[in-house]
Symmetry: C2
Subunit: 523 residues, 2 copies
């Protein structure tokens, strides 16, 4: 398949009417061909209007049809073959093995949602039987979840496949029955076009309305703001920076009809070194931490950017071993010059803080990111809010605490996080019990004896957390739970069987789990 | 129990430090004693801080303990006896039979949430088994929903019991494990104080932290804005006007940490007269409609404020019969002078529209509301947005449409609604099939051959709908589904059994429905 630099609207490749831009190879530091043409306002509006027009037909498809569609997308992505991997490597600087793995994750994610649809209980179908003899009589009430409407999805820079054009937001929205208007990330427009063409091909093969999917290409904030303000759009999925996410939240809240925004934004993912674990296996934890911190040049939302331990010899040794593990790690190419520049400014700012000691800091070459490890005191951390901010890349800050109570106190002062990690042994369980209630309030996922990088795509995953980890802590953007972001309940009162949706009819024709008079069952 | 005019903070009756105001008997048109003292900012902050401090202990209670607590509240409300009913009658002008019924509904609602807690699956517990042999290994992942934190609840004027101090918002928030800081409605402060004292008594009896519940008393918008802005507050439940709800949405969105607002605000609840049903039983429907419109002086969120029918003899006859049924209905006391004044201004504005014909309009006496029925054309309705606005009270507007397609077109232009009602016979099913997809997008509940007033409290009820029916169409404020408004997911990765919440432990010690590797079961 050839990359033409076009957007995809109404099932057709269309040349953007705005200006043009080129992708950039961050490894070779050179522009890539061809040029991409930016969509203008009329093209954004057209994509949204088509999505609105496609919505009723798309949501009227059966779960089995949408499951087939998701798997067809996966097959079409695989059919792109090495063209996709090579373009993604060129645009992201990420290695082949990582991108092949990410492609597998992307395809499996589509498959997971297909399985969810086939299982059938995702609509939370509920039936309350009529009680005609009661005073007053109770009507027949049936409830199901339906899709909210077209969803605007903003692709992330750091996962050019799994959190991008056919990533988790798109997969969960399409599974729900919501058309998707996708704003490609300008860091990997060619990868985006290829995947979008795969989706459009699947739309064709499955004979779905052309408005089910559109790809908008461009740079800057204007496209996103126009997209989120369009009346057809009913929800937003976003993965990116805090400033980008909060800007979209503001646009969504200011609409005549406000809409929900699911923005995954900012997290420093605290790691807690509990004393017994630190004493027993501090060196091993330090090495594991260094590996987690530098994996993928630290360009993960779940990167461990904060480590809390009890001041003392064991923690000093941890710091030393971690710094030693980081020292030989060379700076590596980051996703974009912008990300690299921002990382280097963040590292320099931390290094320049009077209250911060630099334990390790590689040479920061242009376009790259070298690991950096810092340390400060609990008092300084509490006093200086700048130390709480995410530095996207392989940088982390160690904080020496007086005791577990101080760890908890610091946690209380943290903003919302995607994850928290406890390094603990059995002797640490009492300490963990003190921390857990605070952590539950602050984070979406609590890990024991692992590292937060690595987000399983499954039923029980939560990749979410209180603001600013996400815009809306009631949700996850990874795993099957992500579908609920794009659903809302509708109740049918005394509706005739012939008019009821199949999932709510008597006799349970779809043979799915439902709740009847409050009790789960298939009867 | 004696009404003292005090707020309830920290389990104690405290005299507000702000100004004072009196309740008003809308039937006798006289002030009621005693005076109520308004809380000041320091008292609001104290209530919120106590709620925050109580949160971890309250959410650590077992489901059985919170179920007992909810039932204890119900018992304490019943123990108030006639004192409560008489005060509510005086403050609302509503008749005894209605308020006794509403008390029953309130107590049953608490019982429904107690039953939900005892059933145990409300946390949506999920377990994904570890797959240590997989490459990469899958960790053990367990997910449950936890409460979001203290909730600010704003009581409604029109249900002084069921949507007020111990109403659906409070019941669902307490069931979830969220402390509640309740802003009493200034129209029934004495009723509020009595019910709040019942809750505080139940808090004592159940030995719960004093911060679990607080009652704030006062008038004006200041208390609500301070309350919603307080950092301890993590969600908002509100039933009231569109202006009030959107003002709180703005405060919540402008916080350093934005929080969700569940405001139930504005709805005109369209009724669709499909041709076969209209021809077969138009008179009966007209009489039923008139009864639904005037019930409780039209002071329901689900009052049928818009009727769409096909222009012609049958619709003309419907209009005539409905007008005749309304003509003898006297104006009746409305809840407050403010509501009555606003209703009368709304009726006058409709009557003054050039494109609107008045079919029935009773004499509007001070403090009362008399039924009013108007008619306009589809073209006028589409052209004049003012005709789409809710007139809270017993007023409705008939719109003559050319055909079902025009009914659908008008529906497309409506804002979000709580309900839509289809009057239909079997011969109307084709027409209904055309309307249903549009209705699903616009409303929270679709009724057949009934009237929208009357909202069952059950498992499958949806009392919600797209903006501006509610601030957040992904939710219901009535029925067990309301609990999900105050929950968010947390995932536990590789956590030791001893540290896991009981609902997620191996062996299913609580014997509840859970999802293991995607499949529902109790294994």
């Amino acid at each position: 398949m050839i990359i033409t630099g076009e957007a995809l609207i109404g099932g057709l490749a269309v040349k953007g009417k705005g200006g043009s831009f080129n992708a950039f190879d961050p490894s070779k530091r050179e522009e890539l061909q061809p040029a991409f043409h930016m969509v203008d306002v009329s093209q954004i509006n057209e994509a949204c209007t088509l999505a609105g027009a496609a919505f009723d037909a798309f949501r009227a498809t059966s779960d089995a049809q949408r499951a087939d569609f998701l798997e067809a997308i996966g097959a079409q992505i695989m059919a792109l073959g090495d063209t996709l991997i090579e373009r993604a490597m060129a645009e992201s600087g990420l290695p082949r093995v990582r991108l092949e793995g990410e492609r597998g994750r992307t395809v499996n994610q589509l498959k997971l949602f297909a399985d969810l649809l086939r299982e059938g209980s995702w609509r939370d179908n509920r039936i309350d039987s009529a009680l005609p003899e009661r005073t007053p009589p109770r009507p027949d009430l049936r409830m199901r979840l339906i899709p909210v409407g077209p969803v605007a999805v903003f692709a992330a820079s750091n996962f050019p496949l799994a959190f991008s054009v056919a990533g988790g937001d798109t997969a969960s929205a399409l599974a729900a029955g919501c058309p998707v208007v996708l704003k490609a990330h300008s860091a990997h427009p060619g990868t985006s076009e290829l995947v979008a063409r795969a989706i459009v091909k699947a739309v064709e093969l499955c004979r779905l309305p052309v408005g089910v999917f559109a790809l908008l290409t461009g740079t800057g904030n204007g496209i996103g703001q126009t997209l989120v303000a369009h009346p057809s759009i009913q929800a937003v999925g976003f993965t990116g920076s805090r400033s980008g996410g909060t800007a979209l939240m503001a646009v969504a809240a200011a609409r005549p009809q406000p809409i929900p925004v699911y923005a995954e934004m900012s997290s420093i993912n605290p790691v807690y070194l509990l004393p017994q674990a630190l004493a027993a296996r501090g060196d091993e934890i330090a090495k594991g931490f260094a590996a987690s911190l530098t994996m993928g040049v630290g360009q993960f939302c779940t990167n461990p950017g904060l480590v809390l331990g009890l001041a003392g010899d064991a923690f000093d040794r941890f710091a030393k071993v971690a710094a030693e593990a980081l020292a030989p790690v060379q700076g590596a190419t980051m996703l974009t010059p912008g990300i690299s520049g921002s990382y280097q400014r963040g590292v320099a700012a931390l290094a320049g803080q009077e209250c911060v000691r630099t334990l390790a800091k590689g040479e920061q070459e242009e376009g790259k990111g070298a690991p950096a490890l810092f340390q400060t005191t609990a008092a300084s951390f509490l006093a200086e809010r700048a130390l709480h901010e995410e530095v996207f890349g392989p940088a982390s800050l160690l904080v020496a605490c007086a005791d577990v109570a101080e760890m908890a106190a610091i946690t209380e002062r943290l903003e919302g996080q995607l994850t928290a990690t406890l390094q603990l042994d059995e002797g640490d369980f009492d300490a963990a019990q003190k921390l857990l209630p605070v952590l539950e309030r602050k984070v979406g996922r609590i890990l024991a004896n692992g590292f937060p990088t690595g987000v399983e795509v499954s039923t029980a995953m939560v990749h979410g957390g209180p603001f600013p980890a996400t815009a809306d802590g009631r949700s996850t953007s990874v795993g099957t739970g992500a579908i609920t972001r794009f659903l809302r309940p509708v109740c049918y009162q005394n509706l005739a069987q012939a008019l009821l949706p199949e999932s709510l009819r008597d006799g349970n024709p779809l043979d799915i789990w439902r709740r009847r008079d409050g009790a789960l069952g298939k009867a």
